[in-house]
Amino acid sequence: MIHRFDVIVVGAGGAGLMAALYASRGAKTAVISKLYPTRSHTGTAQGGIGAALGNMEEDHPEWHIFDTIKGSDYLADQDAVKILCEEAVGMVYELEHMGLPFDRTPDGRIAQRPFGGHTNNVTKQPVRRACHAADRTGHMILQTVYQQCIKNNVTFFDEYQVLDLLVNDEGHVAGVTAIHIDSGELHTFYGKATIFATGGFGRLWKITSNAYALTGDGVAVAFRRGIPLEDMEFYQFHPTGILGLGILLTEGVRGEGGVLINGEGERFMPRYAPTVKDLASRDVVSRAIYLEVRAGRGIGGKDYVYLDVRPETVNKYFVEDGVKNPDGTPRRITAQDIRRKLPDISDFCKTYLQLDPIKSPLPIQPTAHYAMGGIPTNNNAEVVIDAQGTVMPGFYAAGECACVSVHGANRLGTNSLVDILVFGRRAGQNAAIYAAQADWPRLPAAAEEPARAALAAIRNGTGREVVAQIRAEMRSLMMDNVGVFRTEALLSEALARLRDLKECFSRISIMDKGKRWNTELLEAWELGCMLDLAEVTTVAALTRTESRGAHFREDFPERDDVNWLKHSLAYLEADGQIRMDTKPVTLGLYEPARRVY
């Protein structure tokens, strides 16, 4: 079945919905999502959205720009960061006008809290920049933007999973092939402009904060269609995931005063980041945790530390650090404040740890969280396919699946929400403008065939390999070898074993041969995507012989601006090999400097 729309949006998280909302104002728009939109992973974002409103204390978008660039370890494109941080302010107001229930200050303005890496550029102290709705800011953003889509009668194709990107011989994108999960039928979505907002791929790692759905389908599909992937070696590990499960405990916990404590009862972050301490950026904190664990200072000598947000602990360090409220009075928190400001966190801890954060410290470990890399785009969210910035006509990407790059080598907390909205909006606007003036691209002949063949190969496979087994091995491998600390030996081993796993993957079989709701088939297909992305990530990590942001090579522990102040691009060659290339970083605002917190 063929559906014709001017603009096709794939993915219904924050970026997809924002793109759809704006595109639908000027073009016939469809949103395709493998989940119901309200299930999207944007909904799990907790702590806040960064914007320099200055509601609590002095703040400026310029400071936000600087923090983002510094957080990125100077790998972000600075023109894009400028757009991100300047549009963030208007974006937050727009969300408020859409009805988002932000928490409020006593005088009725949007409340803000400190977050890792956000600082007052003069005093270097943490600044309150994260606008929040309790600890469910992402949930409220997702709901609010979805509500606006309902209001504007956006057309949704819920539970349709995209399997292929349609690229014609002229190199124009003509839409996508998707499977209707319920019927098992393939549908062709034929459009003038296609926007990918398919999210990340945290499921590559064993311990992850990411949902089951985050298997990187969109990124893999684009990669297989010849689009290079940018900066894939940069994958962020969030420092505070619940031990063993990886469920996120927001940075907002530390924003409210929570501290990290090692097995000796010591608050160790001041040793790694003397100025902002526990509110250093995520790569720094995650590495610090691993270093403590390696030095035998994990809790009970094991591989985790405590996040302590008990009021007595927090207030003790507030006194020690001399932390003040905006009005100059000494800052204190009570158990009541924690319950009110972090209700979901309290709920997670009770459900999964049987611990009350007010009474007990919380066992945490770094958890795979966010892909800085992805489908390369320019500032208009148009996908670019080479180092020269050549645009692929009719193709847009936004959100975690895209790499603008505003996050560089390490994303600052709260900036993912800004990214999805600002660049989601740009993708929607630009796609609608493009669709209004572009001709219909030629639809490739037998457009559905590649997807049909891919599924048939899985469905008819008669090998003895088990999908779940391969998936589990891949995730352990990525966690152990392509995690926070990397070396050539670890990465080479990972690459060899990933290629073995890919070989195994060609010999799988599945039990479910039916058509309707065959999620076993789709999970197997998703595993193929993940294996591709795992390989790209590993190859990219092997290639970059320096340490920058989230990518830390123990064999190359220093940042190397001479050779590596550039983005990487990974291309899939016709023979299945991955070819690495680079492209320059856009500077212009701040020259790379040593990064200390």
Binding site: N153, T155, F156, F157
Partner: protein, 145 residues
């Protein structure tokens, strides 16, 4: 797939609101009326003159038939215009409360609209007949006994 925003041509009937409120008010009122009857029965007849069953019957519904087997003087204590109208009010409340309750249950479980309409019509007739019977018993039958 496309969102359908609620049509503007919605009826703005407040019937359900009124019935919901009536159910609550009548329920409380019936409890009050029942309590008053049993207090009155005890004040007039006392435990010595009426057995528990008679008191209960009187409390549930104040009609002189309910106490005729007692040792109390039915007339004029229990058989006068006050108690006739008291009984009528109680019965009106009870019958309407109960009929509405049945209507609500039918609305829950009967899914064919035509059948539901017939059952509701039948229910309405039963309600009217009950009221008729009650008026007859309270004002005619009781009057002649």
């Amino acid at each position: 797939m496309a969102a359908h925003i609620g049509s503007s041509a919605r009826s703005r009937s407040k019937f359900e609101l009124y019935m919901w409120f009536f159910t609550r008010v009548s329920g409380v009122l019936m409890l009050v009326l029942g309590a008053y009857s049993i207090i009155y029965a005890n004040l007039i007849g006392g435990p010595g003159m009426m057995d528990a069953a008679a008191q209960t019957r009187w409390a549930f519904f104040p009609i002189s038939f309910h106490v005729t087997a007692s040792k109390v003087e039915v007339e004029p204590n229990f058989q006068n215009a006050f108690w006739q109208f008291y009984g009528l009010l109680l019965f009106l409340l009870a019958a309407t409360h109960g009929t509405n309750g049945i209507r609500v249950i039918l609305k829950d479980y009967v899914r064919q609209p035509v059948l539901l309409a017939w059952l509701n019509a039948l229910l309405f007739i039963v309600w009217l007949s009950m009221l008729g019977a009650a008026v007859y018993l309270l004002f005619v039958a009781q009057g002649v006994s």
